[in-house]
Symmetry: C2
Subunit: 369 residues, 2 copies
């Protein structure tokens, strides 16, 4: 087996073409990871997600901790066997969801105390526990537990969060891991460039396999998001992968790639699909609109996905209005294919060392959403 | 192209092995038709339904009339093109659903006046209109409009319903149809053997391509259902196919086959699947039960379906509890495969002229539900 880890193959400006070797195979970057929150992308088999062009995927530790729980995952041989797939898998630490989804949470030096939104039962998620759960899941890339304060909290809370994140990252380094598993730490720091730089310098001095930029794509302006990436990027080691968490808008992914980011994940393509918005090379389609009721054209004539090959807008609209689960599948498959095809094109340009790749991309296929 | 129509190939006792030639291909009988109420089986592509062993399918005229409507279906080239499939298609007449689903309905000599449960808009469904809609759908087998009184109505209403059904059947014979389309009429008569016999004699004297037994499987005891089939069957012409509407319970299908029935349809396998009941050769599984939470076995080790090949009971339970649309797909696929595999086995026995096929079937594979 190849040794796991990242190789930076080529830079085009600040954009990077790289190769991430994981226990479940080699992933070329830049790469977008579809999100299978509780172990699968809603309505899709992993075979379909791979068929849409996914080369690496993400699952949420927080959700898997609540259901089905690490014991069941372990008894079933890990998430790959449980959910029948063999794509490289990254799991988040659970930190973000604890803050955004739990009705109760309290952060101490030890970890985060929180209650389940399902039945109120109490949990303590420590950096050690977060990794233990990710071991049970069988992830190829584990994220270390971080503190992700809400955007409304002031600089004092933000600084304290960064200190704790750093302390937890150090503790995480002590934890055992299965051979070949990679471990990434997370840079926080709110919307303050100075604080972001500090955090990036501190965290990236530790011997992790990669670094994530967390706490963005939480409602801030795109300009702010890009400023934070620009603040952090020069502080991150060139030879390690950079992962921008929670960004899935095609135009933002392209801008972040141009600023040196390698990995992305987001529920956006599948979530908007479920709610009736389909991405095309000519702009958004809201499938519920009456104009599509007898429209026999595919969603996007340029798209190679199963949905566009076999079904009309009229049929998708019909399924959407009926609430048929087949709609979720066909719509999610399309949006994922659309986005992943853009990423594949970006990689082709970057691996060829193509300058002006963003312009080429726009000329070749208009990136609408 | 082969001339469309039915050929009775072999009888084994009263059970029959036959061949129904339709515009979309040849169907061996006995045959169970999965139901794609509004144009597809919930959560499944037609390719998957065919892969589960379906050789002919059913869609509901009433539902397709309300949504998307015959105009849109016609504009999209018929249901086969709209929903991307090429299996032989039978459509019902809409009569049963008008009675069971519409908040308002009134039967006159002309037809049934009813209101849409979606928006209250008024419709008049006549025998002529029912066939016109089925032409727009592009069905291979059309059912003529019948009157299906509720079980609680007395013999006078029942007799009047039979008279009207006969009159509408006669009117239906006058209606134009696309070449090769087959047309079946329906025998009603409640739970009165005498009335059933009368209806069967009257209806089957008309030159239809097949005859259905309607108004059963509406809550009556199984014994009564079988008595009604036994009353009707000798009155139906041997050389025409017989279709028992709305029966999907494996044990009842076998009993009806043994009494001379050739065709079946029902939402049962997919509906119970969606609600958590999976059929296996060893009995029912209610997938929500805690005992399956870490059960890594397939639903049914004898089953050849995708679900049983790739997924565990534990994973299905997880998806079911999350309400993931993938559950609907995997569960429906399994129950359909289970039932259709039984039908395929019945056909193998009957085509071989195997006496005692019911016993053989039970010995080979226990028919649990």
């Amino acid at each position: 087996m190849l040794e796991t880890g990242f190789t930076l193959v080529r830079c085009v400006g600040r954009a990077r073409f790289g190769r991430l070797v994981t226990r479940h195979g080699v992933v070329e970057t830049p790469c977008f990871m579809p999100v299978g929150t509780v172990g699968n992308v809603k309505g899709l088999t992993w075979e379909e997600v791979a068929g849409a062009g996914a080369r690496m995927v993400l699952a949420n530790t927080y959700h898997l901790l609540l259901r089905p729980g690490p014991e069941i995952l372990e008894a079933c041989g890990g998430l790959h066997r449980f959910a029948d797939f063999d794509l490289p898998l990254l799991t988040d630490s659970g930190g973000y969801q604890v803050m955004s989804l739990s009705p109760f949470r309290k952060i101490t030096e030890e970890g985060v105390h929180f209650s389940s939104p399902l039945d109120g039962s109490r949990f303590l998620l420590t950096p050690e526990e977060a990794l233990r759960i990710q071991n049970a899941i069988g992830s190829d890339v584990q994220m270390v537990l971080d503190v992700c304060p809400s955007a409304s909290e002031g600089p004092v809370a933000q600084r304290r969060a960064n200190e704790l994140t750093l302390c937890w990252a150090r503790r995480s380094l002590e934890q055992p891991r299965t051979e070949g598993t990679l471990r990434f730490a997370i840079v926080q720091g709110g919307f303050d460039a100075e604080m972001r730089r500090d955090a990036a310098q501190n965290i990236s001095s530790l011997p992790f396999d990669g670094f994530a930029i967390g706490g963005l794509s939480v409602g801030e302006e795109e300009r702010v998001m890009m400023e934070m990436i620009e603040a952090v990027e020069p502080c991150l080691p060139k030879e390690k992968p950079r992962y921008l968490m929670g960004v899935g808008k095609p135009s933002q992914i392209l801008k972040a790639i141009a600023r040196g980011v390698d990995l992305f994940d987001c529920v956006l393509p599948t979530r908007v699909a479920r709610h009736g918005t389909l991405w095309t090379s000519r702009g958004l389609i809201r499938i519920n609109r009456a104009e599509f009721s007898a429209d026999i054209r595919p969603v996007d004539a340029l798209c190679r996905c199963r949905t566009c090959r076999d079904y009309s807008r009229a049929f998708l609209r019909h399924l959407y209005r009926l609430g048929d689960p087949l709609y979720v599948r066909l719509a999610s498959l399309h949006n994922l294919t659309y986005l992943l095809e853009i990423l594949a094109e970006v990689r082709r340009y970057l691996s060829d060392g193509e300058e002006g790749w963003v312009d080429l991309l726009h000329r070749n296929r208009m990136i609408a959403p």
